[in-house]
């Protein structure tokens, strides 16, 4: 176990030490204490490291993550795990706006609530939220899955492309071109597997599925030449 106290080591030094592990198999776990809401903790990791942050983090924690497994025992500020490529990021508390934005791959688990714009422009990652998500979540989401065990705020999935959205609770309103879709046995099986992988205890049978109606301008073949 390598312990780094952010009251003694600044963020650049911490992140450089983590980047120095790139290409390593990362057998030694890292423990980061004293985050006190600081920004950009454990950003840009590219190794199969296990990193645990003890406390609340600020903006952009675990952004651009590849391969690493980052756990925050606390709440996270805006932009958690933005543009994640692979690996896992877990927050035991709540996350602020834009969690998992533009994630290409990997798994983001928020055990509490996420606020607005969770999974905005999602490009292939999986996001599982134990609580609820705020407004405009999965806006323009292109691929991947957003699973919400609580409620979703207004404008869910506005202008969505091919991402899959699952919500167990109520939806404050669907965004433009987002519609409810059937849940097949295949969907339920894959959802059960995802919930299991996320360590979230929820019944896959209790979720409703939402996705694109594919009726907006960009979905019409007549407009293909405009792109």
């Amino acid at each position: 176990m390598i312990t780094v106290d952010l009251n003694r080591v600044d963020i650049r030094e911490l992140n450089q030490r983590l980047h120095d592990q790139n290409g390593d198999d990362g057998r030694t776990p890292w423990r980061i204490v004293g985050p006190d809401g600081r920004h950009s903790i454990a950003v840009g990791l590219d190794a199969t490291l296990t990193v645990t942050v003890e406390g609340h983090v600020g903006y952009y924690c675990a952004g651009m993550n590849q391969h690493a497994h980052v756990t925050v025992n606390g709440h996270a500020g805006p932009g958690l795990a933005e543009n994640m490529m692979s690996g896992t990021v877990r927050v035991t508390g709540n996350a602020s706006q834009g969690a998992g934005a533009s994630a290409h791959g990997g798994l983001l688990v928020i055990e509490g609530d996420a606020s607005s714009r969770c999974g905005i422009s999602l490009k292939g990652g999986d996001i599982v939220v134990g609580g609820s998500v705020g407004h405009m979540s999965a806006f323009m989401a292109q691929s991947g899955r957003l699973v919400v065990c609580g409620d979703a705020g207004a404008g869910l999935g506005d202008s969505i492309y091919e991402a899959e959205l699952y919500v167990a609770g109520s939806v404050g309103g669907l965004g433009a071109d987002c519609v409810e879709k059937d849940v097949t046995d295949d969907h339920r099986t894959r959802l059960t597997q995802l919930l299991c992988r996320a360590g979230i205890d929820a019944d896959a049978g209790s979720f409703r599925r939402y996705g694109s109606a594919r009726t907006l301008y960009n979905f019409h073949v007549d407009h293909a030449g405009a792109y």
Binding site: G37, H56, G58, H75, S116, H135
Partner: protein, 299 residues
């Protein structure tokens, strides 16, 4: 981008610690707003019938005694004067309109930053760290305080454009965001007789709340209607005589964190400002929901 913080103490016994806890809250937001800083503090109530004014003049050597003497002569009785850098607090035996008229006639260069029984508002250009140091914020005592660090977007970097803005007696507002309909709204409010000291958008928000409350709305009602009448982005923290309130617009892209223990309620743009408070790690912490008024008071 700006930084805003608010700290409300639930117990009178904690009041000696207010400044000591507030200073690092303000300084932690310095990189969200390095242009200028300001704060409003509630303490030392004026006696019944008296009025507490905070006055500002850019000249640090300004002769505040002359104003105190003049006010004392005009309105019978000693004026309690306390000078703090470019600001002076005076407790006078006059009504607000009398005091304003007298100052306008005799000292038109002096600006009133706050009026009430307990509120004092100080603001200054420069790094928040320097402002905190020169005003010795750590030694201040009181029941609650709001503070602001400014990164100017809508108007010039001057002390006048800095926050907090007074929104009426013992009321003030700090704002993170920008309003897009402030010119039209300012004109409408001017038609109702309001005057503004700057072209700043946040001053219009403050003026709007003052106007709505003068029409009879409660603070909560005024905040609720601001959601319809203000166009733009905002997180507001509003100080009242015995508490404070927080409101974010419906889009809620300007950050805010609330934290509460049985000793205090704190609001800040970021958790960094709250982390140092005693008991913060065990506090209930949440992000205020969009278009929702949160308010605390001791009564």
């Amino acid at each position: 981008m700006c930084g805003i913080v608010g700290l409300f103490l639930k117990q009178e016994s904690l009041e000696p610690s207010l400044g000591e806890w507030l200073e690092p809250m303000l300084v932690a937001m310095a990189d969200r707003g390095p242009d200028s800083a300001g704060f409003a503090i509630y303490h030392d109530p004026a006696p019944d019938g008296a009025l507490k004014l905070t006055l500002y003049h850019p000249d640090a050597g300004f002769d505040w005694e002359a104003i105190a003497e003049g006010l004392g002569t005009a309105f019978a009785g000693n004026v309690n004067l306390h000078v703090r850098v470019t600001h002076a607090v005076m407790v006078v035996n006059a009504t607000e309109s009398e005091a304003r008229a007298w100052l306008r006639r005799h000292f038109p260069d002096v600006r009133i930053t706050s009026v009430g029984a307990e509120i004092e508002i100080y603001k200054e250009k420069g790094l928040p760290d320097d402002v905190a140091e020169s005003y010795a914020i750590r030694h201040l005592t009181g029941s609650h305080a709001l503070a602001h660090t400014r990164m100017a977007t809508e108007s010039a970097v001057t002390t006048e454009h800095s926050h907090p803005f007074s929104t009426g007696r013992d009321l003030c507002l700090v704002h993170n965001g920008s309003l897009s309909n402030h010119n039209r709204l300012r004109s409408e409010l001017e038609r109702h007789g309001m005057t503004f000291q700057t072209d700043n958008d946040s001053e219009v928000a403050a003026g709007y709340l003052t106007h709505r409350m003068a029409e009879g709305a409660s603070l909560e009602e005024a905040l609720q209607s601001s959601l319809d009448d203000l166009d733009g982005f905002f997180t507001f923290a509003i100080g009242t005589r015995d508490g404070f309130a927080v409101l974010r617009d419906g889009i809620a892209c300007k950050p805010a964190v609330l934290a509460e223990t049985d000793q205090w309620v704190a609001m800040a743009s970021e958790y960094r400002s709250i982390a140092h408070l005693p008991g913060a790690s065990a506090a209930q912490i949440w992000e205020p929901a969009p278009a929702t008024v949160y308010a605390w008071s001791r009564n």
